[in-house]
């Protein structure tokens, strides 16, 4: 089930591009504020909350993936974004989600995988 389309930042060079710490999607802060994270808004609840956006996203990411066909793409599968919206994703995102999100994930028995490439299994 594809989640449709995330908004694509128009200015790829823009310094303020931010990547979601949980799903690694890259959007402008404005998009995060307007629409939240297209994949994990339910957990992150960034929509309209700039503070929350600051906490749940980061500019510290490396590598940009244009996920055009998430369902079929191996890259998306490898990045575990194949169930997510189409859009721009980061290869690596530095940092961890806020503790409340981590706790929530735990309560749902979802394994949290930081996107900083530190976990390999």
């Amino acid at each position: 089930m594809s989640q449709g389309q995330a908004s694509i930042p128009t200015q790829p060079r823009a310094k303020q591009l931010r990547a979601c710490l949980l799903c690694s999607i890259i959007q402008t802060p404005a998009d995060f504020r307007k629409h939240g994270c297209p994949n994990c808004e339910e957990l992150m609840q960034m929509k309209g909350y700039p503070d929350r956006i600051q906490a749940c996203t980061t500019t510290h990411f490396e590598g940009v993936i244009a996920v055009i066909n998430p369902e079929e793409s191996w890259v998306a599968r490898w990045q575990r974004t194949s169930k997510y919206a189409r859009g721009m994703y980061a290869v690596r995102v530095k940092g961890r989600v806020p503790e409340d999100v981590e706790a929530e994930l735990e309560s749902r028995n979802i394994k949290y995988r930081p996107r900083d490439g530190s976990e390999q299994d």
Binding site: Q5, I8, P12, A66, W74, W78, M88, I110, K111, Y112
Partner: protein
């Protein structure tokens, strides 16, 4: 209002895709919306209530904000399908009202603007029809269904995060063959991210076109500049996708990424650089570029760090604002100019105030604020983005750290010193200096005093193998900072840091931790406080070394006399000292082959100790010569230029005493003959005696005998292996040609093989005796005898026969003495001569690289030496020099050596070098009479054959007394039996015992004596005319004779080897 109506209305809103926008425009509602979302995730089933609530709100808002919405819709006529412009009557009054109420303003607005547009009206009518249909459908569905729809719709905006992919281990996600491939595409560096974004946008744009992009994804990694990776099923899809994008270079190939490398592309991880408070960083850009800074704190997301570092405040602003407060701000701006970066200096309130005025600095608590920067304790404290900092390879120097530890007043503040900082700095320094294998000692801690070699270094722990009885093979681990290099007197060291940095020298003494060394450069003793400052010295920078001769430019060469950290000091041939970077050096020159002569005409060689005969009379050792003119000398006694100086080669004289031979005016011949002069010390002091001569072929006049240039005459200019470059006399042309195709051309026009002597020349040269083998050609060129030989075969020969001459093909010194011991030896013993003498293989053996490898050869050789010496004193006979090549069998030599002294002919022989040379020329005729040739029927019946006794050495016949004697055969007695010797009765010309001139001689010791003069009667030894008597008509050259057979008057052109003299004798052997 009924639920159904509400739902319908609600749906209308949704259908118009207005819902979201409305929400956005009403900030007030955000919280409620948020609340709604939360409700949903808690309980999706209770949608209906929420919808009511939501709807009510919508309604209210609708009334309140009618105008705004009207404006909004005004731009979008499509939404007018909500409006019943035709005032259609519906049975549901409430809804009607609602609708009207809701859309009244719009209606008015719309009519005002669009009323006149008929087309619009028609379209709007269609919209209405569609709307009606939908409303009716809606009515038909049951409520539950509707509720489901709604909940579905809402779920879409806030999907429950399941993390359903998280449980799969990464390794199970590895790509398989069924996955699309990754394709590497080259792009303009720096544009990778843009292109990935462009691809995304392009994919979206073309998604519903008739040519959608078929790529699945595209990505870029910062660590892989200049390339992006596109995931697609085929390269064609990739090229279609990237077609038209700027900055993509499909021409450079769309390369498939192997499936096993796909994952690693996404796994690449930059070196994780963590910044912790207290660590050192360097500032990458700006005024403080390269400055060391200490991290104070790090922001939570790790993007910014607070740094503390030494400020660079311009205390001499350009536009002097000292007293004029108006320009202060400009002064601040002027600071940003990197060109005039002010020096690092601690913030000093008084100084700054003096320059910038009191107002510019404000003080809050302990902190000064100046130009928006905060200064504390003299340091500036400033936040930097992590990207503006260099985190790795910071390598703070001790100087920098000590500066940090100083107070703002600049005085050493001992209490302020953070020992751990120093420790870290010294630790790094220590590690960088140490290498496995270094000899170190422990100078602190429990193991203090232990010394040994470094086995390995891990981090800052050094594993060393101590030396000493008590540590038998143990290894101990020591912190790197606790060990230091150990030096002992005599070590050659180079100072790494400090006042004497880069100096090299010899360690004179080591007392505690002070190393005293004698500098190579200044010859001054210097003390080094810390042994750690000293590294084991090399004088090598780059590829160049101290005292190398280097080419600086086309005209200039020089000798490196001092190496510095990354440059050299070079003394060029003009005596100028230059500071040269390694890259400025074109090449290192090898002057080993350079030739120069000193003031006395002696060759000047590298390593010779010489002194100037004029000028300052300096002494020195020759380092290099250049262009036969300049000599670079070195003498440690001169402090200037590291003891290197340059002078003219012509003004030098050897310090070593010259041998008398040189003084006797023995001129070229002996001088050119190292074998002669070597022992006499002609080249005393030369470290390079074994140097091979230049190719003697150079300058030789030759004629081409094969190929397109056949017949041309020229001069050899250069040789290279089997090729020679020949300058032709005609056309002034230089051609490269096989040496095989060349013949030496003598002054008289006769031709000779070019390299005939080199076959036997080779071994002694390569065997290290090169200097003892004078080249026959060079000698030949100087001795008149050589050139004449070809024309006048053996004018001196009376005691010997042409046959003997031929034997000189075997380069045997003993042949020089008019006797033929080697020949007889060959006949009798299966030694190398035997084989070689008869077959061309002989030459091969002569070429064996090291004949001296044979055991005992050297002693034999020594035995032979006096003989040669005697020879050469009388006249240089070059062929004697070939002996080494032929000396593989020691035994015959040792026997022969005394013999040659016994033979009276020996003394006379040296007169005939020419013959030898001539004989040498006959090398090509390879005929040798077979052993026991005399028994062949053609000869056994002949009387008067002139023979010579050879090979009787070593317990042979009569103990060799008759060796070399010649005589005539009277009769041959063939036993036809191996066990009984066949003998011939020979009457000797000069019998040992005059009373017994006729003796039976075993036939194997008898060898033919070849003719040398015309008019001699001969018997042909070989060929069709074998056994036929003939007469020598003419002697063409030393290896060619024309004979006429006696009976048939056949004229035969043959070589003397194939002939034997025959005398017409009477019964007792007297010549008639």
């Amino acid at each position: 209002m009924s639920d159904v109506e509400d739902e319908a209305f609600m749906d209308n809103e949704e259908a118009g895709e207005e819902h979201e926008e409305l929400e956005e425009e009403r900030p007030k509602k955000k919280h409620s919306r948020r609340h709604e979302d939360e409700d949903e995730e808690e309980d999706d089933e209770e949608e209906d209530d929420e919808e009511d609530e939501d709807e009510d709100e919508d309604e209210d808002e609708g009334e309140q904000r009618g105008k705004k919405r009207a404006k909004h819709r005004h731009k979008r006529p499509a939404v007018n399908r909500f409006l019943d412009v035709e005032a259609e009557v519906d049975e549901d009054e409430d809804e009607e009202e609602d609708e009207d109420e809701y859309a009244r303003d719009e209606f008015i607005a719309d009519t005002g603007l669009e009323g006149e547009d008929d087309y619009d009206m028609v379209r709007r009518a269609a919209d209405h029809a569609r709307y009606d249909r939908r409303v009716r459908e809606m009515d038909d569905r049951d409520l539950e269904q509707v509720a489901e729809d709604i909940s579905q719709r809402y779920r879409r905006t806030a999907v429950r995060y399941t993390g359903d992919m998280s449980d799969v281990p990464q390794r199970l996600l590895m790509p398989s063959v069924h996955d699309a491939n990754l394709w590497q595409v080259r792009v303009r560096p720096g544009k990778e991210r843009d292109i990935v974004f462009s691809l995304m946008r392009k994919a979206i744009d073309l998604e519903f076109s008739n040519r959608p992009l078929n790529i699945l994804s595209a990505f870029q990694r910062d660590s892989l500049p200049g390339m992006i990776y596109v995931e697609a099923r085929s390269a064609k899809q990739v090229s279609e996708a990237i077609n038209g994008l700027v900055g993509v270079f499909p021409s450079r190939g769309i390369n498939l990424v192997p499936i096993e490398e796909m994952a690693s592309l996404l796994q690449i991880k930059q070196q994780e650089l963590t910044v912790t408070p207290g660590s050192w960083v360097r500032i990458k850009r700006g005024k403080y570029q390269g400055d060391l800074a200490q991290v104070m704190d790090v922001t939570e997301n790790g993007e910014e760090v607070g740094l503390k570092f030494i400020p660079r405040i311009d205390l001499n602003p350009k536009d002097d604002v000292g007293l004029d407060g108006r320009k202060r701000k400009k002064a601040g701006a002027g600071l940003s100019s990197f060109n005039m970066r002010p020096p690092q200096r601690f913030f000093n309130y008084e100084e700054v105030v003096k320059v910038y005025g009191r107002k510019s600095v404000s003080k809050r608590n302990q902190v000064y604020v100046f130009q928006n920067d905060t200064y504390k304790d003299g340091f500036i404290e400033k936040d930097f983005r992590l990207t503006a900092l260099q985190l790795d390879d910071v390598n703070p120097t001790l100087d920098e750290i000590t500066r940090f530890t100083r107070g703002q007043d600049g005085t050493e503040n001992e209490t302020n010193v953070d020992l751990s900082i120093i420790a870290e700095a010294s630790r790094k320094a220590a590690i960088s200096v140490l290498q496995p294998g270094d000899h170190v000692e422990v100078f602190e801690g429990e193991q203090s005093g232990v010394h040994g070699t470094v086995h390995s270094i891990e981090g800052d722990v050094v594993t060393m193998e101590p030396v000493g009885v008590e540590f038998d093979g143990q290894r101990i681990q020591i912190p790197a900072r606790s060990v230091r290099k150990r030096f002992k007197p005599g070590d050659h060291v180079k100072v790494m840091t400090g006042k004497n940095a880069d100096e090299t020298g010899l360690v004179v003494s080591v007392i505690d931790n002070v190393v005293t060394f004698l500098s190579d450069m200044t010859m001054q003793e210097a003390n080094l406080r810390e042994a750690a400052e000293v590294g084991t010295g090399t004088n090598i920078v780059g590829n160049y070394e101290l005292h190398d001769l280097v080419q600086i430019d086309q005209q200039t060469v020089g000798v490196i006399f001092k190496t510095e950290r990354d440059s050299f000091r070079v003394l060029d041939q003009n005596g100028q000292v230059r500071l040269v970077q390694p890259h400025q050096i074109t090449m290192r020159r090898d002057s080993n082959r350079a030739i120069a002569t000193d003031s006395e005409g002696h060759e000047l060689r590298i390593g010779d100790n010489v002194k100037e005969v004029d000028g300052e009379g300096r002494k020195g050792r020759v380092l290099h010569t250049h262009q036969s003119f300049f000599a670079f000398l070195h003498n440690r006694d001169y402090a200037e230029n590291g003891g290197v100086f340059v002078t003219r080669a012509r003004s030098l004289a050897s310090l070593a005493p010259k041998g008398n031979i040189m003084k006797l005016g023995n001129t070229d011949l002996s001088k050119m003959n190292p074998a002669l002069s070597g022992g006499a010390g002609g080249m005393v002091g030369s470290g390079n005696i074994g140097r091979g001569p230049r190719d003697r072929l150079i300058g030789v006049s030759v004629m081409v005998i094969k190929g397109p240039s056949k017949g041309y005459v020229g001069t050899i200019k250069d040789t290279n292996g089997p090729h020679a470059r020949v300058e032709l006399l005609t056309g002034n042309k230089v051609i490269t040609i096989d040496k095989e195709k060349l013949r030496r051309r003598n002054p008289d026009g006769s031709l000779e093989p070019l390299e005939k002597s080199f076959t036997s020349m080779g071994p002694p040269r390569s065997g290290g005796f090169g200097s003892q083998t004078p080249n026959p050609y060079s000698q030949g060129g100087r001795t008149p005898g050589w050139g004449q030989t070809g024309r006048t075969p053996n004018p001196y020969n009376d005691s010997r026969t042409p046959a003997w001459t031929a034997s000189s093909r075997t380069p045997n010194p003993y042949a020089d003495h008019g006797k033929t011991p080697a020949w007889d030896a060959t006949a009798r013993t299966p030694n190398p001569y035997n084989q070689g003498g008869k077959t061309p293989a002989w030459n091969t053996s002569a070429r064996t690289p090291n004949p001296y490898a044979n055991g005992g050869g050297s002693s034999t050789w020594g035995g032979a030496t006096p003989g040669r010496g005697v020879n050469w004193d009388a006249a240089p006979t070059p062929f004697a020099a070939f002996t080494p090549g032929a000396a593989p069998t020691p035994a015959p030599f040792s026997m022969q050596t005394p013999f040659e002294y016994q033979t009276p002919a020996g003394g006379a022989y040296p007169q005939t070098p020419g013959v030898m040379a001539g004989a040498y020329g006959s090398q090509e005729s390879q005929y040798e009479a077979p052993s026991k040739w005399l028994l062949e029927p053609e000869f056994s019946q002949k009387r008067g054959l002139v023979v010579e006794v050879r090979g009787t050495f070593g317990g042979g016949w009569h103990g060799g007394d008759f060796e070399g004697k010649q005589g005539v055969v009277l009769s041959v007695f063939d036993t036809h039996n191996e066990s009984f010797e066949s003998v011939a009765r020979v009457r000797f010309f000069n019998p040992v015992d005059p009373l017994q001139p006729i003796l039976p001689v075993p036939v194997q010791f008898l060898w033919p004596v070849h003719p040398e003069h015309r008019e001699e009667t001969v018997v042909i030894l070989d060929g069709a005319q074998k056994g036929v008597e003939a007469r020598v008509e003419a002697v063409e050259s030393n290896n060619s004779m024309v004979v006429t057979t006696m009976d048939t008057f056949h004229v035969i052109d043959t070589s003397p080897d194939r002939l034997i003299r025959i005398h017409d004798i009477d019964e007792v052997g007297n010549r008639r």
